[in-house]
Amino acid sequence: MKFLVLVVNRCLWFLPTVLGLMVITFTISHLIPADPIAAAAGENATAEQIAALRVKFGLDQPIYVQLYRYVLAVAQGDFGISLYTQRPIVFDIATRLPATLELTFVAVLIAATLGIPLGVLSATHRNSPLDHVLRVITVSGLAIAAFWLAILFQLLFAMKLGWTPLQGRVDGWGPDSVTGFFLIDAVLMGDLEILQDVAAHMILPAATLAFPAMATIVRFTRAGVLEAINSNYVMYEEAMGFPRRIIVWKYVLRNALIGTVTQIGLIFGILIANGVVVEAVFDWPGLGLYAVSSILQSDYNGIMAFAIIAGVIFIVVNLLVDITHGLIDPRESR
């Protein structure tokens, strides 16, 4: 029952938060110093032409009417036309979203499969050389600029050693699009060559994104394990003669991971933020690269759409994290 209240409570916050986000982007888009209509109309436009354009775009209306129309349009997925591709922005974003999601999932997968065991080892071998090395790695992971790490990887592995492709998502056309996730599509086609090519393109950007995420996971897993290992049930299990391996990897880890799960929201924030620059470096045709080309083209509509979509994805992830947290840790919802 309490759990249900938690879920309903969190879901009720979803709408006001997204609405607030729209108010922010609406405000930002009204910060433009120059008159956008005068600029769009061109230098030779007469005052009447400009006034007509103002009416056409609804800019003659009071500000709250404009805001109302804006929210209504965005809620229906209408972000306007991209000045760059001349297509509805929602189309552009829909075609690019799978690339970003695939990259993000792979990065999270790498970060978790490496980060959780390393975090446990770091805690069980506290103050050992291994712990110190891991501390240096995690501190570095949170201090390094993602775009710089991306360039270093490119410089070393693609340019000097030639082990991986320099950039892009695939050579040639790529697999027939079924899901939009190239790894899955390649498997569905049963084409090993394409699968290999897709994976090779994915390694560097995924590793770049995974590094700071892994650092965060190691940190929180380590802290969680250290806290759990001092609790009474561990003392009890040790007294009962349970093997240490089982205590740590089965009982302690399960409790420690609760703390790590709550940080997934934070990790996702890092991934979205770094995704923009990493996609720019690797020419990865996702949402981040779209944001970057919108910046280069001064495409305000594209930037605002990116801000809203990225924001909503982030809000949804945090909503899911809260609910999952309530599910796996009954104490939360008691």
Binding site: I24, A143, F147, I151, N230, A273, V276, V277, G311
Partner: protein, 287 residues
């Protein structure tokens, strides 16, 4: 005074915090003494096309860039930009966030709710996303980067101060001063603020690192101060087309960002260990 000596003593023992402080000191020295430390101080705005893309040598410690300017000298001047952006943006964030958090934490009612909901909305989105939108709309310049960062970072302090204020509000000494008729403003400034100062200091130190990373990312995306600014993020973006040959061009500014952010993160971690009595207790406990 006693506390200060205690903190200073702990600080000198904490090697991690000390390394962080040294790195930050190096940044400040580089920025302040840039004109004297630079071997080619005029290269911030002067170009020598004949010397372009030369590797590191005695004449150019870190090589030259696409314009033939000295990378090392420009790096030092870039430190000035980094410090300016980070210090102003963080100061503004603290100056907005702390009062908002104090007021929202001290009073109860719809206004407090509103203040916290607004900060929650800002916190519900990754900072760089809104910063990109703001910086792009206003146009690339150092002032707009500062504005974009301040506008997106203040809620961190508002949240923190709000939570801390709420948690110490029921302490006896606060209730006593309210009962004695001390004005709310005075309670907030002389009783609550000093007690939550250590959390604010720790958050601010770590926040500096994050702000420098975001500012560099904005510069890298072309939203920072325009060319020929020696801003570090912009320099890395400019260097990309000359890879892999001119490796020094891209590595030097990235390493500078890395060391500076590392400095603030290490100092923040160290300060937290020293200042936070809760952690201090648990540390001695599990030893």
């Amino acid at each position: 005074m006693e506390t200060l000596r205690f903190v200073a003593g702990r600080f000198l023992q904490d090697r991690v915090a000390l390394i962080g402080a040294v790195l930050i000191l190096l940044l400040v020295l580089a920025a302040v003494f840039a004109p004297w430390l630079a071997t080619h101080p005029q290269d911030v705005s002067e170009f020598h096309p004949a010397d372009r893309l030369q590797g590191p040598s005695l004449a150019h410690f870190l090589g030259t860039d696409r314009m033939g300017s000295d990378v090392y000298s420009r790096l030092l001047y870039g430190a000035r930009i980094t410090i300016t952006i980070a210090v102003i943006a963080i100061s503004v964030s603290v100056l907005i966030g702390v009062p908002v958090g104090l007021v929202a934490g001290y009073y109860r009612g719809w206004f407090s709710e509103l203040l916290m909901r607004v900060s929650d909305i800002f916190l519900a989105v990754p900072q760089i996303v809104l910063a990109i939108a703001i910086a792009q709309t206003l146009g690339p310049s150092i002032e707009n980067v500062i504005l974009a960062l301040s506008a997106t970072y203040w809620p961190f302090w508002a949240r923190l101060v709000y939570a801390e204020t709420r948690s110490i509000q029921n302490e006896v000494f606060i209730e006593a001063s309210i009962a004695l008729g001390v004005s709310p403003l005075r309670v907030m400034i002389t009783h609550i603020l000093p007690n939550i100062m250590s959390s604010i200091i720790v958050r601010t130190t770590i926040g500096m690192g994050g702000t420098i990373l975001t500012a560099a990312a904005l510069g890298f995306l072309g939203l920072g101060p325009p060319a020929p600014s020696p801003e570090w993020g912009r320099t890395i973006a400019e260097s990309r087309e000359f890879l892999p040959d001119a490796w020094w061009y891209a590595t030097a500014p990235g390493l500078a960002i890395f060391l500076v952010v590392m400095g603030f993160n290490l100092l923040g971690d160290g300060l937290r260990d020293i200042l936070d009595p809760k952690i201090r207790r648990s540390r001695t406990h599990d030893r």
